[in-house]
Amino acid sequence: MAEITFVKKGVTGGTEQRQKSSLTRSQRRTLTFYAFITPWLLGFIFLGLFPLIVGFLTSLTNYDGLNLATVKFIGLDNYTRAFEDPDVGFSLVRTLLWGLLNLPCWLVISFTLAMILNQEVKGRGFFRVIFYLPSIIPLVAAINAWRIILEKNYGMLNYLISFWRPNTAIGWMSDYALPGMTLIAVWGGLGGGMIIFLAGLQNIPDELVEAAKIDGANGIQVFRHITLPLMTPVIFFQLVLGLIGAFQQLNLPLILSTVGLSTGVPPRPIYLYMIHTYRQIFTHGRYGYGTALLWMLFVGTIALTAIVFWSQKFWVYSSEATTEGGRS
């Protein structure tokens, strides 16, 4: 039943039955394949490719959401405007700082936890589940909870610090929002990172480690010369995804400023690039300028990813480089 309707789709005209039998097996398979992926393919074209192109065209206009009748092409004005906008440079620097603070913290902590759990520890399964738990807590609820800790005057963290330094009132959600936000991000992200590092560590053949030990290597040497090199592909993968994530970070500062300060405008330290873009579109209705900023982010992300990919050959271990590598 279902088979016949699928075949119908690809065939013009009404005599499906006869035409069906005249199709070769491979033609039939091709039609079936395209029938199966039709929902995704149509969606990719109409909800992916098409908005992207329209978005790009919008970035060449002065469209503000209302002036459709008088909209006109203004060439690359929106793009040159970005270079004159001081907030673009400022937010870009904040985004870089955010990445520089958040990524290494997250990588090191989740890697360390994975290293510990890769040994024979009791309750490994328990810790794996517990460490991942923050990842499934919705960001809004997480920030509601973190606010109790990070709040300037009544927060638990400043309360704790006050034992050493009385009357501490550090604005973890305002003036020092960058470290505050990093805390939340690492809290929510280390489980996912740990799970992936752990899977990588478990792929390292035991024989390699054993052989090195027999040759007299100590724990640090094993880590330095075997574990770490063999883990570089996984670290690389995490770094690429982390970089892309850092540059498109929008939710965290947006929710932080809604929940914590109720202003909706993030404090300057976490005024990230995407926040600036978001505000251009949704606060000021500058669709043209906003989509231009979006495209610049897109191109910038690709360029950055390309640089990281290029840097691969200097530090990422590949099994082709050494013929007797243990990775399969």
Partner: protein, 283 residues
């Protein structure tokens, strides 16, 4: 790494440090959740006051009752839950269809299309989300749930990838035997592959449901206040008719908001963590 050749003492020391770090991390990860839970039992006058008190003087169980009687929580939660389930079902069907096709069919164009799926895994979602908003706004579909439903019918590159990886491991004989018996491709997919993919189906459904339940950005940009979903509703405190914030009652609502996700996660954690490893998708 093992510590066998390191001597007894250093082995003991390594174990000890390891457990210390693990337990310290567990406590630090649990702290925010603990404080949220504790705050949900306080009176408003005890919440964020000085001097700081960690526990409520008298636990206010009535806060939880008030969530159901004084706030629109149930209404919004029902709406969010129904939309989440619809999205989960639709996206599972469309993603598994595509995943099955990519796993089992090598036809002209199939590998090229699959490389598009892979490329979409790393394209920043936000780069598409905003142009999509512009498109849906032009189609007058803002303030409706169509953006969710249409997005679900399309499927998701992560889930497609996940299904494909899973289906790749199915033995070829399985479908060959079915084909000999006269099974059409759709029946092979529906009666042989899908019933054997329950762990993946469960994982994808949980991820997809969680994606709607936890989402803040989409309801924020698409929906007005009277249609909004929990993600946005929980970002601000509920108010009483006089316009005052119901702070700790909102905290109790947050606890209820998180609870179902934690319960489901504990039941399905084995499959979910496997899904994280396979797709690199983190929650």
């Amino acid at each position: 790494m093992n510590w066998q050749r390191e001597g007894y003492l250093s082995k003991r020391f390594g174990r000890f440090t390891g457990y210390t770090i693990l337990i310290a991390t567990t406590i630090m990860l649990a702290l925010p959740v603990f404080f949220l839970l504790v705050a949900s039992f306080k009176q408003d006058s005890e919440y964020m006051t000085y001097p700081i008190q960690i526990l409520a003087k008298v636990p206010q169980w009535s806060n939880y009752k008030a969530v159901f009687t004084m706030t629109p929580f149930v209404k919004i939660a029902t709406r969010t839950g129904l939309l989440g389930i619809s999205v989960a079902v639709l996206t599972t069907i469309s993603s598994s269809l595509a995943g099955y096709a990519f796993a089992r069919y090598r036809v002209p164009g199939s590998s090229r299309l699959f490389s598009i799926v892979i490329a979409l895994l790393i394209v920043p979602g936000i780069v598409i989300l905003i142009p999509q908003f512009v498109l849906f706004a032009r189609l007058k579909l803002t303030n409706t749930y169509w953006p969710w439903i249409l997005g679900a019918i399309v499927g998701n590159p992560y889930y497609i990838f996940f299904f494909r990886q899973f289906f790749l491991n199915f033995p070829k004989e399985l479908e060959e035997a079915a084909e000999v018996d006269g099974c059409g491709p759709f029946r092979i997919y529906w009666q042989i592959f899908m019933p054997n993919a329950k762990p993946v189906i469960a994982t994808v459904m949980i991820f997809a449901f969680n994606g709607v339940w936890a989402d803040y950005l989409m309801p924020l940009i698409y929906l007005s206040a009277n249609k909004t979903l929990l993600g946005v509703a929980m970002a601000t405190a509920f108010r009483n008719p006089n316009g005052n914030d119901l702070k700790t009652i909102s905290m109790a609502a947050n606890v209820i908001y998180v609870l179902p996700l934690i319960v489901v996660f504990f039941f399905a954690q084995k499959h979910i963590l496997k899904g994280v490893v396979t797709t690199g998708l983190k929650g």
